[in-house]
Amino acid sequence: MKKYIRNPLILGLLVWIVLIVVLNVAAGHISNSPEGAVERLAQALSSGKDSEILKSYTSGLKEEYQMYSSWGEKLNVRDILGIEEGKYELLVQKVDMDEEDPDIATVVCIMIASGGDRENEEIRPLQFQLQRENGKWLVRYN
């Protein structure tokens, strides 16, 4: 076995594998950034799952959602946000960090939404305010 490990080609392959693992770990860290937060939001909106969408937003949305629920209204989070069903992609154009508060950022992006009741792709520029809450970047709700 030792003679195989000493072979430079096999060693090279192992290095590649390790590199890919490292990159994946690094990507995990990158995901906790304003850009990552917007990406998660796109995934959450596409999934349509209330829990996922709530996780992407600051706590205000959850509180409002719970308030509606306590009134007996059966709304999903998309209804509160006024967002239609479909597949969402949020492509980040630029990120502006707040000059005074490092926990606030503005993300300018292009939304590409498809599916649902849409005849065509819906493409439009959007701007999100993000806030770091408990170390995690979230889309600010109100």
Partner: protein
């Protein structure tokens, strides 16, 4: 009765008092005035002051030399004076000479130290003859300096100052005839020959190109009175280069005097020749237009003195001012001017002309803004995406007509002024002009930079609001990434002079290794067509045509990720290399050899086990056939296989070295 007696007594007392007062208030000197007006409106105002000798000695505390010294000292420079004594009466002759009404007014105002009303005219035409004078001051006002000086120097007691002068006769002499007047001279001795109308037709071909006709409507009554004079007068008023034509209308005769293709100076000469008065002037001055850089505004002002045609006692004549502007020109109100301009296009008096004025007047002023707009027939906007946030944007605006060189210079100067507002020194938008094969003139602006630079530059140069941007999905190992693009702008201000049928052709190119994938549904295409728009998206570019003055486009597409492609190629190459390497270096063969040896060993062991099992079976069979052989029986009972002789086949007890039958050596 007593009451009546008292009333008569009171009336008598009052009458007596008035006589006494009148006697006491008789003045020391009488001033007579004669205003002589010449035909050229120069003249002399002669004022004679006659002082009776007894009055002089009664009221004046000095002699005549002292008085002359005072007058010499105090007389305004605008006046001249002389003194003589005729039959015991001291007479001062004071004159105010003037070369024109303006000069007269100026001198009077200088003497009196305040603005004065003074109108003096003496029209001399077939329509109007005579003179008119209107003064807002008297001779006593002009000689007030003498009164003040006499009192100030103690030569006359201030209580008697009001008795120094009194007004005598006033008269005006014009053209050899004398007309009596009041202290405030107000005479209107103008005679008019009725005239129905004067129409002024103006064709504005440009800010410095005019056609003009005066059409004079002369009623039969006037023609019958002075036909020869009228014809001679009007024929004499036809300026050089102009044409004239006599005609008729239902109430009499018309005379049309026309000048064509006149510049401003020629128009002024033409007006002066026809109107025969001094107060005519046409001016045109360039004005900054608030309707975009392709519109040129010129402030137009025309003052006309029609008094030579004044056909009534007020010196006015019914005047029509009609305007026709050439294609591409417009005449509107100049809000910086003092008068409003309205062109009544519904007026059909003259074909193609609008009416700007129709009333009685002697002095007509027309103020308007002449606008010349070069219409933009199309705009071509191309945005080339060069990178993640790098764009080249080319905007071309084509005009239907080629402006004159001076106007082209003004357009470029206006554009450069806008570019100069950009607070940056490098990579400023480039400005170019072009000429199409069809002779159209155009302007091209080329912008380079990131989205923010493009937006800011566009806002400075074109006004309105421009926004564009591109965003791309960041997939490190994704070979093809999604991207989105948007651009919207509205140039309402810049495109104010857009022609009918104007279109913007907007093209966006996604850049190398990218293509658009946005699908335009049939429904969308139909909706666009209803609005006169089309949108075509082919991988390499998207083209949008709109008749509006703005564009709003959103697109998506894919772009190849070179880095990912390289990584994947490297990975695959590494794997292939590994496999090839293993083969080449013999590692692969070594592994195969080892595997073969292992297999052979495994086969040998298996054969050995089979042979042992067969020997055992044969031994047990042999022992069963030879129950007498104790050794075999023991061997069979122990499970040990018998050893067979390779030479004679004799089974031998296990562990025997040599065959018990033939003595041959037994193998292991």
């Amino acid at each position: 009765m007593k009451k009546w007696i008292r009333r008569v007594q009171f009336a008598a007392a009052a009458l007596f008092s008035m006589i006494v007062i009148a006697g006491c208030s008789s003045s020391g000197s009488v001033v007579t005035t004669q205003l002589q007006i010449n035909k050229d409106l120069s003249g002399v105002r002669a004022m004679d002051v006659s002082i009776d000798g007894t009055v002089f000695s009664e009221y004046f505390n000095g002699d005549i030399e002292t008085l002359n010294a005072v007058i010499t000292q105090e007389c305004p420079e605008e006046l001249t004076w002389s003194y003589e004594n005729v039959d015991g009466t001291d007479t001062y002759h004071v004159e105010l000479a003037f070369s024109s009404p303006e000069d007269y007014k100026k001198k009077v105002e200088s003497i009196l130290g305040s603005e004065q009303t003074l109108e003096l005219s003496a029209p001399d035409s077939v329509w109007v003859t005579g003179f008119r004078v209107s003064e807002g001051f008297t001779t006593l006002d002009l000689l007030e300096f003498m009164e003040s000086a006499l009192v100030d120097q103690g030569l006359v007691d201030s209580s008697n100052s009001s008795y120094i002068f009194s007004s005598g006769q006033s008269s005006v002499v014009f053209n050899g005839e004398t007309y009596s007047a009041y202290d405030y001279i107000q005479l209107n001795e103008i005679e008019y020959l009725p005239l129905d109308k004067v129409d002024i037709l103006t064709e504005v071909n440009g800010a410095d190109s005019f056609n003009r006709s005066f059409i004079i409507y002369i009623p039969r009554t006037s023609m019958s009175q002075k036909q020869e004079e009228i014809e001679a007068y009007l024929n004499g008023n036809v300026p050089a280069g102009a044409s004239s034509e006599w005609g008729v209308y239902e109430d009499g005769t018309t005379m049309t005097i026309t000048g064509k293709n006149m510049n401003l100076a020629e128009l002024n000469e033409f007006n002066a020749g026809v109107l025969t008065t001094e107060g005519n002037a046409v001016t045109v001055s360039g004005r900054e237009s608030d309707e975009g850089i392709f519109t040129f505004a010129n402030a137009f002002r025309e003052d006309m003195d029609l008094s030579a045609y004044g056909g009534n006692e007020y010196g006015t004549v019914t005047t029509g001012y009609y305007v026709k502007v050439a294609d591409g020109l417009e005449m509107t109100t100049d809000y910086d001017a003092s008068s409003f301009f309205y062109l009544n296009e519904d007026n059909d008096t003259y074909q193609g002309y609008g009416c700007a004025y129709d009333s009685r007047t002697s002095l007509l002023t027309v103020e308007a803004l002449i606008k010349k707009s070069y219409q933009i027939v199309r705009a071509d906007v191309t945005t080339q995406i060069n990178g993640k946030d790098d764009f080249e944007r080319t905007l071309s605006f084509t005009l239907g007509q080629t402006p004159a060189q001076e106007e082209q210079d003004r357009i470029l100067a206006a554009m450069n002024d806008r570019i100069a507002q950009i607070e940056r020194e490098e990579d400023l938008p480039l400005l170019e002009t072009f000429q199409t094969d069809e002779g159209e003139f155009g302007l091209t602006v080329i912008q380079n930079g990131d989205a923010e630079t493009i937006q800011e530059d566009s806002n400075a140069v074109f006004g309105g609001n421009t926004a564009l941007g591109r965003a791309q999905k960041k997939g490190f190992l994704s070979v093809r990434n999604r991207f989105g693009f948007y651009e919207n702008f509205t140039y309402e201000d810049f495109l104010q002079s857009a022609a009918d049928g104007f279109t913007i052709t907007y093209t966006v190119k996604p850049g190398s290794l990218s293509s658009f994938s946005t699908r335009i549904s049939d429904e969308t295409n139909e909706a666009l067509a209803i609005a006169g728009q089309t949108m075509t998206v082919k991988g390499g570019s998207a083209v949008y045509e709109t008749p509006y003055k703005g564009v709003s486009v959103t697109l998506s597409g894919y772009t190849w990720n070179i880095a990912a492609i390289v990584i994947w190629i490297l990975l695959i190459a590494a794997l292939a290399g590994l496999i090839i390497g293993l083969a080449v270096t013999g590692v692969f063969a070594s592994i195969l050899r080892d595997l073969k040896t292992l297999k052979e060993k495994s086969d040998a062991a298996r054969q050995q086990k089979l042979a042992a099992a067969a020997a055992m079976q044969a031994s047990q069979q042999y022992a069963a056939a030879n129950p007498q052989d104790q050794a075999l029986q023991e061997a069979a009972a122990s499970g040990a296989p018998a050893a067979f002789c390779p030479e004679c086949g004799q089974p031998n007890p296990s562990g025997a070295a040599f065959c018990e039958n033939c003595g041959a050596k037994l193998t292991d």
